[in-house]
């Protein structure tokens, strides 16, 4: 009887230890996303000021590294959730959330790669608006990270962050529309205009995706509080 109970006790201890490890992996994953957004803003700043310098390339490889770490974490979390049949009720939701967050990160990385490869020629008159757009996009992603953290730790606080995601995304949309109008009002060749428009979209993409994720998160939250 006694040894059986001991192993049961030990099993529970390992269960909690594994749980703790998994919790920190999810936290880590969210950290990577948040860091990528911050590096993304820094990289766009550098590009606008100095072009595709060595410093810009360094930021790009930093985001690359963060992305591949985040991928590893995502796979590990997903495998554990299913292998150990954890949170059977919300498992699918958590899986969906993490994969969508990962694609936000991928969009940040993709945007920077486009800068590095295509090296767009952005006239100085648009720099301020590109910076403003980047600012709103990063704010959107940051708010989404906070909302996601709240989903795991403090479900009641999710709406507090969610409305900010929506707000910043709207702001980003406004700036991008304004910027596109301004670009097409110039006398630049159409090919140049189109190129500039593409980069507005490259920067804006993470915010659009963030909004989609936030919409899903809202449903997951309702599911968990009902």
């Amino acid at each position: 009887m006694a040894p059986a109970r001991n192993t049961m006790f030990a099993k529970n201890l390992t269960l909690f230890r594994r749980t703790k490890a998994l919790e920190s992996q999810i936290d880590d994953f969210l950290n990577k996303l948040s860091q990528s957004a911050l590096v993304f803003r820094r990289a766009v700043d550098i590009y606008l000021a100095e072009g595709a310098t060595a410093e810009f390339e360094e930021k790009l490889s930093q985001v690359n590294e963060l992305e591949s770490q985040a991928d590893k974490l995502r796979r590990s979390v997903e495998t554990q959730l299913y292998a150990q049949t954890l949170i059977p009720e919300s498992r699918g939701d958590v899986l969906g959330l993490i994969e969508n967050l990962d694609s936000v990160l991928n969009l940040c990385e993709g945007g920077l790669w486009a800068f590095s490869i295509e090296k767009p020629d952005i006239p100085a008159e648009f720099h301020a608006d590109y910076r403003a757009l980047t600012e709103q996009v990063v704010n959107t992603v940051e708010s989404l990270v906070l909302a996601s953290r709240a989903f795991f730790r403090n479900i009641e606080a999710v709406p507090d962050h969610m409305h900010k995601v929506m707000f910043y995304e709207k702001e980003a949309d406004k700036v991008s529309t304004k910027l596109k109008k301004a670009i097409f009002a110039t006398d630049l060749p159409l090919s140049h205009k189109a190129h500039l428009r593409n980069f507005v979209e490259h920067i804006d993409n993470p915010a659009d995706k963030s909004e989609d994720v936030a919409d899903r998160l809202a449903i997951y939250t309702i599911k968990r509080t009902v």
Binding site: T19, E23, I87, S90, F152, V226
Partner: protein, 494 residues
Amino acid sequence: MELAVLFFLTSGLFLGWSLGANDAANVFGTAVGTQMIRFSTAAIICSLFVILGAVISGGGAAHTLGRLGAVNALPGSFMAALSAAVSVYLMTKLGLPVSTTQAIVGGILGWNLFSETRTDITTLTTILSTWIICPILAAVFAIILFKLVDKLLKVTRLHLLRTDAYTRLGLLLAGAFGAYSLGANNIANVMGVFIPSSPFTDFSVAGLFSVSSTQQLFLLGALAIAVGVVTYSKRVMTTVGGRLLPLPPVAAWVVVVAHSLVLFVFASEGLEALLLRAGLPTIPLVPVSSSQAVVGAVIGIGILKSGRTVQWNVLGSIGLGWLATPILAGILCFVGLFFVQNVFNQQVYRPIPYTVSDAVIGHLDRAGVPVAGLREHTNRSYGSAREFATVLDGVSDLTAKGRDRVMIAAEIDEMLVDISRFAELDGTWLTHDQLESAYSLASESYRHRWQLAEALAAASPDWRMLEDNRANKAHNKDLGKKLDSLYRAFRKLR
């Protein structure tokens, strides 16, 4: 043990098996259905704790069931248990929240009717009232628990995964407690009817602890329940667990705990003693329905969470269960007894004769029961409770309570204090004085149980009932059980 005895026990084992197959789902259904706990883990924990609960604290509720009707011949017990088991099976087929409790009560009433034995109305009302109280109490427990847990979760702000891990552990612990309570409360349904005709005798293990014949019966019944859990409950758990209770894990935990608490309070003699000492009203120890406790708890959470109105169709099906199950079991038992008696020539009951002797009149007079109307019926014998009851109907100055006392006093139960039967008594339970005084009555015969009790009381103060008040209730109850064990040992007809 004779082969016939074993055969008659099989219906009880069948009832135990179906209880295990069905009610284990109430305890572990959601946990297994939502994949929070593996079935193998659930089955092992459930079996183990059902057995522990049945053997350690199964006695309380069994006592009440025994008072409802003491089925005194094995073939009769067989039929009562069989009719209950068949009713449970049929009602489950119809998809009603069935209860072995209601089935076995119906079976016992069927036997009472067939054997023309007196049904103790007070006990019957107690049992009926607990059936209504049980789901209500479960709902109240669930509401309180849910509010507490909800508050706790908000304050502690646990991580989703941590909540999950704790809930998992909580479900396991609650399941163990639930299985223990289920065993303690419902073993009486499975084996209660066999107690008066138990084929086992008490024995003690190396003088350390003693195992009563009832506990041996309960162990056997609990093993049958465990077999039911292991062999058949998986299906019930995976289908019923998900369908009946689409609850999030934390709410499922609340339901299991509320259900277990209800079963526990209706089974625990320890709790009863505690309440008595604290001067609080006690809860009758009655076997209640595990399924209905679960339904009650779910309704409680439903009321709390959505403020939706009570689902009347669910309540309706409970009400139908209250009514249909005992009636069906009663009819099946009555018809079955007729067959067993007339087709298979088995004695399904030992007739209980009654007589109003001068000794009985004197005993009743001392107890303050008006005896004037009884005198004209003295020194006549009556073959059954019904026959005697018809006679008592003609006695005008008796109250309902007085009537019950006359019935008990006039019942003939021939006993001989036989030295050779002392081996069946539990030497560690009875005090030295109690044993000595019983020895001093060796070779004496008694016609009525109260006569032996009075003789014992005269021989030793240890055998005297104390004044009937709250403080003495536990003592008197214990003494009553000790007297019962003496009656069983010294009874001439067994």
